[in-house]
Symmetry: C2
Subunit: 252 residues, 2 copies
DNA sequence: CAGGTGCGTTGCATCTACTGCAACACTCGT
DNA sequence: ACGAGTGTTGCAGTAGATGCAACGCACCTG
């Protein structure tokens, strides 16, 4: 709606692809160099863009700080984290927490046992929305029309032969998930990875987040993973309870 | 430099403090509600801002994705990571990697042994710049005038009795660090935590990053930690070599 | 070293598009 | 039902964003 701001913000994803110099930015925005310069300067003042040693702009540090703080205001994450850790300790597999926002599902927390994994490789990245178990749960809870509209808009990449192929199949799957109150992804994203997931609900019963346990075939079979379902659901319910009940919030 | 963009971007830190509604945003920007609305809409279209259930704006998902991608183009991190992991495996303590950018020092990687720690609690957050060992190394390498100017501008919070108290002391410390080629922080940030750090240099010899090993007093004394210095320096040098030499980059 | 090319940067006249106003629509609360 | 507090829309006026052309500067190249 605001042209100037729109142009300025378009620079960010552009720089996310890699550093670029003034000319390149101007070209890709379709504006004069002087215009691009002023936009970049403004972004720079706010720390969103950084001018590295020789020419070339790149995304700046403030971006991390902002993403940081944004995360910290997500109270579901705050509440869920200890539960996720405990679940991880008892089953040993990777545990994810995800939320839905603006036609995307994204991981907001992750606990993996063995190594101190590079969490940032997943956290913040959009989820494979048509196949991930957490995505199914989050989308299944959307109002009917919204769900349909979204299903139509999505792409259905065939990550594997078991990926969801089209809107119809997806909507059917969502309906099933909606009824049973939990979801799985059995090799739909990566051939050898299975997940089971359960929803976290707010006081009004709406799904505010979803959590999952993932493990590769070689460690546990899909059937064995399914035996964890009760534990996952119990954990999710515990988080739901804490999130929706009157809790720490008031005490501060 | 560009008023409209400037105003729009000012909304982000404002929302980072917590969700706010249209009126609050307009007030704090000092503009009319309709103006604030259009700015917010533009931010919204770019996914930087999210409108939650009803009313109240908050920082949006795209922010994570951007921060994400920004991280991924930091090639030092890419190269350094396996070395950090190996160092961690051999000594067991927390290992950090940090860079200097625009008057700030920030952690861009961290490896901790025991638990899969919530890395985001540190990564992306600005470092206590006047006391952290990595900060000393990064600042010590700045050109004289820049270093002086920065030292004057900084605050010198007394985290502990051993924190750097003022610009003069800081500059002296930087000089020392500069000469010896490594740095420590012995209880300057938190009474019981010590660090040793070493610089990572680019092909031109300039410090591009710094890494450190930290451990609490109760696990190893400062003296014991110092025995790790050679190992830390060797690791840093290995990273420097790989970063500055002709390396994988060409092979892709 | 003179001349050339490719950058980023600046000042300025033009006119776009951003602003604030005032009126409207809507949801609550009492 | 009504008023207070929201968010939202259309519009006229002008602040401020735009693109141009000229300049400065570093780096090649003959």
């Amino acid at each position: 709606m605001s042209q100037t701001v729109d142009r300025a913000l378009s620079i960010l994803p552009l720089l996310a692809e890699g550093p670029a110099d003034l000319g390149q930015v101007a070209d890709r925005l379709g504006v004069h160099k002087s215009t691009a310069l002023r936009l970049l300067r403004t972004l720079h003042e706010h720390g969103l863009v950084y001018r590295q040693s020789d020419q070339h702009y790149r995304l700046g540090a403030r971006l991390f700080a902002l993403a940081q703080e944004a995360m910290e205001n997500l109270d579901v994450r705050e509440i869920a984290h200890p539960h996720l850790v405990r679940l991880n300790e008892s089953c040993g597999h990777t545990v994810h927490l995800a939320v839905y926002e603006e036609n995307e599902v994204l991981y907001i927390d992750k606990v993996e046992s063995r190594y101190p994994v590079r969490m940032y490789s997943r956290i913040g990245k959009p989820v494979a929305i048509t196949v991930a178990a957490v995505a199914k749960l989050l989308l299944a809870d959307l109002p009917e029309h919204e769900r349909r509209a979204l299903a139509e808009k999505l792409d259905y990449p065939m990550y594997t032969s078991r990926s969801t192929p089209n809107p119809a199949a997806f909507l059917r799957e969502l309906e099933k998930v909606r009824e049973q109150g939990w979801a799985t992804d059995l090799g739909g994203h990566e051939e050898s990875i299975n997940c089971v997931a359960a929803p976290i609900r707010g006081a009004d019963g709406r799904v505010v987040a979803a959590m999952s346990v993932s493990a590769p075939n070689v460690v546990v079979t899909a059937d064995e993973l399914l035996t964890l379902l009760p534990l996952v659901r119990r954990t999710a319910d515990a988080i739901s309870g804490e999130y929706s009940g009157r809790t720490p919030a008031e005490l501060q």
